[in-house]
Amino acid sequence: MKVVLILLFLALAVAAPIVVVSDYWHNLMVLAVVYAIATLGLNFTLGLTGQLSLAQAAFWGIGAYTSALITVRYEVPFWIGLPAAAAVAALFGVMLGFPSFKLSGHYLAMTTIGFGIIVRLVLQNWQELTGGADGIGGIPAPSLGVLDVDNNFKYYYFALAFLLILALVAYKIQHSRAGRAFQAIRENEMAAEATGVNTNRYKLIAFLFSALYGGIAGSLYAHSAGYISPDTFSFDQSVVFMVMLVLGGSGSIPGTLIGATLLTFLPEWLRFLKSSYMAVYGAGVMFMMIFFPTGLWGLLEMIYGKLTRRPVEVLSPLEKTEEATAAKSPVETRKSS
């Protein structure tokens, strides 16, 4: 089943820009991929580890600006800009990880929001470094030797390759000892620590990966857009990333991809609603969150579970003496990792 879904997803992803020809939509598709990478990053902190980080757009912006500045000012290729963006963002990520040792919930959220605001203000006001409100233009397209990735159609496949690799890495991490450590922290931090998980260390690692992915997404964004300015990397955008993650399915990789894609295209699909589109969009998000807090992926899993109902029959030693009636409803199960 998993294989079928992956193949289906790949088929759709590869076919999309061929089926839909307009450059406008191709641009959105590139954006969807960029957003997906950034949201995959947020999945490490918020989704897996349960750390309320509202700074994802700041990491995205740090990555975009690092890559843009280096390639424009020092005329180095994208292939130096990208790792630099990732590294600088990751550094800030680790920095933001330290407050998470002692802070959680609202207090951590406020700290991350504060960080995001500082980043945007620096981008806006440090004219000499960042160009201030004028932004940075003339960001070069990535070059693959003979080929330049200089239009949206090519860029889509270019970015998609990154997304697939990064999604695979995220998948491997999630289904490993490290992934379990992250999730243990989210589920019950004290128990995680008392079971042998170095919670501080793993929080730092979560923030590091979150920022790393955000930084890569930022670089990819900058070199596709050709021009960036501080307004893009605002708190509002961090909220968008959070909604993409939670709506799609916090803690799940397919959920993340669905959420990012959907929320990139939904504003376009709802355009026919003209001025009421915002209200419908907002109401839709609220509806999903109230009735399906596990997100779209959670909803799909639930439907799948109901379609493949199996009664539970085995009893454990604690129940063996009572003539426990067989369970009436299927107990929630999930693929173990």
């Binding site: 491997k172 490993s176 999730q183 128990a191 008392a194 042998g196 998980v197 085995v314 129940e319 199960t333």
Partner: protein
Amino acid sequence: MEILKTLQLSKHFGGLKAVDKVDMTIKKGEIRALIGPNGSGKTTILNVLSGIYQPTEGKILFKGADVTGKKPHVLVEHGMARTFQNIRLFPELTVLQNAKVGQHARTESDLLSIIFGLPKAKAEERHIEEKAKQALEFVGLLDKHNQLAKSLPYGQQRLLELARALATEPDLLLLDEPAAGLNPHETEVLDALLVKVRDRGVTLLLVEHDMNLVMGISDYITVLNFGAKIAEGTPEEIQSNPEVIEAYLGKEVIHA
């Protein structure tokens, strides 16, 4: 061999002496019970021993090494594990995943080997799965390994916490009211399991209110009241100790 030794261990919360200069020595292979009225400091002392609280004064020696003030995950590496009074499972993870977390401190695959799928990481993952399944089988939960922890009934959740603690391969297991909320039959099953755990070489320190369990299973009992140790001895000695009786039942006042 002394596996755990506390020297004048104290924990104060402001003016409140929750744990007051407690000296305790536990031998390897013992089943030691820690009893006392509510509020006598039993859970606090467990929290100090397991690193969740820093002691205000005193020392903790584990297998001869000074572990005073070390963080809980470090203590797990040393070989100390614990369960909680109010169950602290990972509810949205499966039974098997809960147990696997227990193996975290016994393994070391770093992220690079995980990302590149190196054979070392894969071998370790198989090892983790095996050990986790062994722990689940020991408590009788192996058949439920794919269920979410939150879907287990209460008694089985307690067993899962025990399995998770056993998966850390401890030398000393601290149990905080493991029988709380269990019916008499479930308590019997727990009793038998704990004896089996001890027979495998794990030392047990158990905080418990269920006197049948305590008297039946313990080699030695330490009694606390108001944070201080008021008695220590075999079950028979403790049962007839007047100070213990007074702590639980109060003193009879005779009016002339």
